[in-house]
Symmetry: C2
Subunit: 340 residues, 2 copies
């Protein structure tokens, strides 16, 4: 927070395995010291270094290991190092997450490259994830900040694995201006944001796909809500329900559990107005099941590794989407065994 204030950063040091969270004053000192060490090695200012930590909460960093690793890390810096960096930040992730988009502004090409890590403790605002995005576009800090914030809202703030928010998370965009483009017009801005959202959606979906123990990615789409917050709330409650998520795992179009989750969400709804579809197969109409045949068809759709659940509340014009995953035996294994 201290170092990001002025909007300028030249280096990130990320460590995986230890979150440096709930470590008190000593943890803060260690973070500052790490920045100084990195700055010393690179010949830049400590305020230009960001530190990102992810892993177990409540343990102090092993500063000897950090200090010893630094010269080698700096020596190994290379434009080809991105895939290695994407691997290095993994904790319970099973695969590295990288996404790239290339655009043009006034005939000048630019790039947006993002890497991310995250698999559990995933829930909006924003959860145990780190995402570093590099772009060579030339764009002012206030504009970049505005575009980033609204893009996070549409991407990383619309996924969940287990509803457990984290002590540690970060989405960072660094723009160095090397593309050499001129001042962006409105269309350029829009294209840049579209591409940024594409990269972030890509990474966000990878995080859910890699959700701890997940075997299925489910796109939950709530429409017909009477307010925007109703649509978001309904989608989140359904997306985080233990019972809905185990039903996804069991490939069971158990719409009663979805209805129960909607019922406890506190949104404005009328049971008899609700319709639901799984990958286009209608399983609920007017608050009632559409029958065994339809459920059988829906169960077939749920055998796929990715499907959608559309809930139409039929109360108004607002809608929202959350990407979630199923709750599996493997999730329990990972989290009962992690750490000890």
């Amino acid at each position: 927070m201290e170092h990001i204030k002025d909007g300028s950063v030249r280096a990130i040091l990320a460590n995986a395995g230890n979150a440096n969270a709930c470590t008190g004053e000593k943890g803060l000192e260690n973070a500052r010291l790490t920045s100084e060490w990195v700055a010393g090695e690179l010949g830049i200012k400590a305020g230009e270094v960001l530190v990102a930590s992810t892993g177990v909460i409540g343990a102090q960093l092993d500063m000897d290991r950090v200090e010893k690793a630094l010269p080698k890390l700096v020596k190994g810096l290379s434009p080809e190092g991105i895939p290695e960096a994407a691997k290095a930040i993994m904790t319970t992730d099973s695969f590295p997450k990288i996404s790239l988009s290339q655009g043009e502004a006034g005939g000048i090409p630019y790039h947006i490259l993002g890497i991310a890590k995250g698999a559990g403790m995933i829930m909006p605002r924003m959860a145990t994830m780190l995402c570093f995005i590099l772009t060579d576009i030339r764009l002012g800090t206030p504009e970049l900040k505005r575009i980033l914030s609204s893009s996070v809202e549409k991407t990383f703030n619309r996924i969940t694995v287990d509803g457990d928010t984290s002590t540690n998370d970060m989405v960072l965009v660094m723009a160095n201006g090397l593309a050499g483009n001129g001042v962006l017009n409105k269309a350029d801005h829009e294209e840049f944001q579209r591409r940024l959202i594409h990269v972030m959606t890509d990474l966000a979906t990878m995080i859910v796909k890699d959700g701890e123990g997940a075997t299925k990615v489910v796109h939950i789409h709530v429409k017909g809500a009477s307010t925007g917050s109703d649509s978001t709330r309904a989608a989140r409650i359904v997306a985080n329900s233990f019972l809905v998520k185990t039903a996804f795992y069991g490939q069971d179009p158990n719409w009663g559990r979805i209805m129960a989750a909607l019922g406890r969400s506190g949104i404005h709804m009328e049971e008899r107005d609700i319709s639901m579809w799984i990958d286009g197969v209608k399983i609920v109409e007017g608050g009632l099941g559409t029958g065994v045949d339809q459920e059988k068809k829906a169960a077939e759709k749920m055998a796929h590794s990715e499907f959608s659940l559309i809930i139409d509340l039929n109360q108004g014009k607002y809608e929202d989407q959350i990407v979630t995953c199923d709750l599996t035996h493997e999730y329990v294994s990972i989290n009962a065994d992690y750490r000890t």
Copy 2:
């Protein structure tokens, strides 16, 4: 709701396996019809019959089976039938839940006998549970209602298995006055409520013990909150966290996850003021871990089938308790397989 309005009930018909929820007008008609059939068999009024259904949501009752079963059920009525009734209302429960308390009012003995069912979809207000309590005390309907409501708040509304509230739940107390006691004085009232709370706590704890797949019962006690709602909210968020519950299962005193859950609860807290104990073993002091030795001791406590987690926020004088269980492989098995 129609039949309970006047406060007088003489019979309950409960069925397990089908919740008769989200079944629209036809479901409501079936419920009314069932009451009429029961009333006919017993020679009482339909308005004196309550129906309670629990099980799969969204399927219509098989009315033929209900109709055929009734004469046999009525013929089988017996004062010794309570244990059988406790068994008959089970769904995913693994054992019947019965509790009894005997008291005296003005030298006259009375009894409070409760049966309950519930194992999953358990979360305050009140979840997939049925609880029928019979007492022979003589007590007016308004007083009984007041005592029941405040007792539910302290018992069934303070447990959770998975945070999923239900479409179906009921706690009912029926008092027939056969004890023949006179008007109760203040001490009698207090004793009755204490005994009722004892029976309800007993049943509520059994529900958590029998939580789907649960291997551990955990008593979460949040104290030192600045408001009453903060203490309740903090206890509930911790009690329902996927990650805290899997850590309980793994017997891992992973207080970082508890801290993370508190952090997202939105309550007033200061990390550096927080202390935590597991069965009397201090694992956090001033927001920091107390070290590996203490964690090892705490892990030993967590090997038991029941233990407490005390969280002192050190912000004020409010406190609350929630009883929860761990999240296990078996929970996932039960709920991925239930229904299909």
